[in-house]
């Protein structure tokens, strides 16, 4: 395993130390229990918005802490859901009296840990609502799965809910907006290589030089199906078609699109995929109203990408355009 780390057991702590030093104007890092909190929190009267999950997906979530997005993030160990005490402490730290929204990705561990934390917070008199993101069309949402995974739509929900909270929306309205974003967002991913969890020390899966994994998540788990290596146009078309058919997206829709790198994909390739995606959408009469192209929700050093489309209404677009000042997303200020 080749990584710029010292000891896998300390990687989370040391990474967060660097984050705190690099962005002291935006955030602070608390190490026990571990959470990242926006500078100046809590904001009195403002609905708090927090998220969390395993580390290794940066900039999500810690890189989205700051004005107009998250009030706090709870980073677990690499690919491991955070623990209830982290989430409880972060919730208490950001509660400005108006309650706190938990944006939770749909994984068994995340759900259970956030649920336990919510009980603890409610026992302390802090109102908590959770929005669960489950947007990955590669997974069937059926009795035979733990439901769909939460992936790229999480970034959109964090931005949009963060903006709404900043504008003064109450907890119920922010939560309702987050649920609407989740209902209208769909994603799918592809991996060209595996990633290596630092503590595991070897790649999660072995994959041939001419193979790709279609329908991967963000934890280095194998995908739904192994396919031959295909040209970017074909890979993009397969993912886009699965996404478009699922909602379904139709002519006249306006979308916010993300072409997201998994951590080890050159930006050149992501832009190339974006060109393919926009061509496909235009041919169907779908307008890309806003977009992100880059690394936003990663899987360590995995090569590959994911596509996310959100069928956006006026309120979502307006929230999207609001100022945001975080390490990973910044505009308008």
């Amino acid at each position: 395993m080749k990584k710029l780390i010292n000891d896998p057991a300390n990687a989370r702590r040391e990474f967060l130390a660097g984050l705190a030093l690099a962005h002291a104007d935006l955030l602070a890092v608390i190490q026990d229990p571990v959470y990242v909190v926006r500078a100046g929190a809590p904001v009195q009267g403002k609905t708090g918005v927090i998220s969390g999950g395993g580390s290794g997906h940066e900039p999500m979530h810690a890189g989205f802490v700051g004005r107009g997005m998250l009030d706090a993030a709870c980073p677990g160990e690499v690919f491991t859901s955070p623990t209830p005490d982290q989430i409880e402490a972060a919730t208490l730290a950001v509660d400005g009296g108006a309650g706190v929204l938990h944006i939770v990705k749909n994984y068994t561990g995340d759900i259970m840990n956030f649920e336990m934390a919510a009980e603890l917070c409610q026992a302390r008199g802090v109102e908590v609502r959770a929005v669960v993101i489950n947007d990955d069309v590669a997974v069937e949402d059926s009795l035979y799965t733990a439901g769909r995974r939460g992936v790229g739509t999480t970034v959109l929900a964090e931005k949009i809910c963060g903006a709404a909270a900043e504008r003064g929306y109450g907890l119920a309205r922010v939560a309702e907006l987050g649920e609407r974003v989740n209902r209208h967002g769909r994603s799918m991913g592809v991996a060209l290589t595996s990633c290596t969890v630092p503590a595991a020390g070897r790649p999660n899966f072995v994959i041939g030089a001419d193979e790709i994994e279609m329908g991967i998540g963000i934890h280095g788990e194998p995908g739904r199906e192994r396919s031959a290596l295909l040209p970017a146009a074909e890979v993009t078309a397969r993912m886009a078609e699965a996404i478009l058919a699922d909602l379904p997206f139709t002519s006249g829709d306006r979308v916010i699109a993300i072409v997201n790198g998994m951590g080890g994909t050159p930006l050149m390739e992501l832009y190339l995929v974006y060109a393919e995606l926009e061509r496909i959408l235009r041919a169907r009469g779908i307008t890309v109203a806003r977009r992100l192209v880059g690394n936003y929700i990663t899987s360590l050093e995995m090569a590959g990408c994911s596509l996310t489309l959100l069928k956006a209404d006026d309120e979502m677009l307006s929230m999207w355009d609001d100022p945001v000042v975080t390490a990973g997303l910044r505009w308008g200020a």
């Binding site: 859901s81 068994t108 799965t145 899966f205 788990e221």
Partner: protein, 210 residues
């Protein structure tokens, strides 16, 4: 052996050693159908339990299990953290006020813990989870106790059943947890959580035999 405070401490210490020794194995199993962290998670959790108890162990077996539960909940994370945390929380409650556990008390301890895991995770038998090792173990222990077996005897039956349940996860398609995302590709792999659950029962049997 009488199951009291020392036996509970011995079990937890054995678990620390067992998960340290099986760290790579559990992580490898998790890499195949999950995210390659189960061994690290269990090892980190039980190492922390050991450290906490070494610093200050409560005088009561139930309190020891409860403090182990709290440490696991704070340090394991993932799916295993809340599930094993709940196991020990409920097991602690089942021991409350007892200084020495009878065979029936041991069954009650596991029954409470396993019911906690079921309530927390809502997995059914055959979903390819730790439940597939735990439920058969519980049934076997209960049957042995009903037959009048002593603790060593009922634990032996529990271990055998847990092992069979663990191996029985191999042909299953996962319907809960991260492995369910793989669909049919989860078939043919042994579930990491069922494996750590088997080790949990086996460590108790080994410790309580002496």
């Amino acid at each position: 052996m009488a199951i009291g405070r020392e036996a509970i401490l011995g079990w937890l210490d054995a678990l620390r050693q067992v998960y340290a020794a099986n760290r790579e194995r559990l992580t490898e199993l998790d890499a195949a159908i999950g995210d390659a962290d189960h061994g690290t998670n269990m090892d980190r959790g039980f190492t922390a339990v050991h450290a906490a108890l070494a610093a200050q162990a409560p005088s009561d077996a139930g309190d020891i299990l409860k403090s182990a539960a709290m440490v696991l909940i704070r340090t394991v994370g993932g799916a295993a953290g809340p599930l094993y945390g709940t196991f020990f929380l409920r097991a602690a409650a089942a021991c409350a006020g007892k200084t020495e556990l009878s065979p029936a008390d041991v069954v009650a301890l596991f029954q409470a813990g396993i019911e906690g895991v079921q309530q927390r995770g809502k997995a059914e038998p055959g979903d390819k989870t730790m439940i597939d090792a735990l439920l058969p173990a519980l049934a076997a222990m209960r049957a042995a106790a009903a037959r009048g077996a002593d603790i060593a005897g009922l634990m032996d039956d529990g271990v055998a059943a847990a092992e069979a349940g663990m191996l029985g996860t191999i042909p299953l398609q996962a319907r809960k947890g991260r492995a369910s995302y793989l669909g049919a590709r989860s078939i043919g792999h042994q579930d990491p959580g069922a494996t750590s659950a088997f080790l949990l029962v086996k460590a108790a049997a080994a410790t309580w035999r002496a």
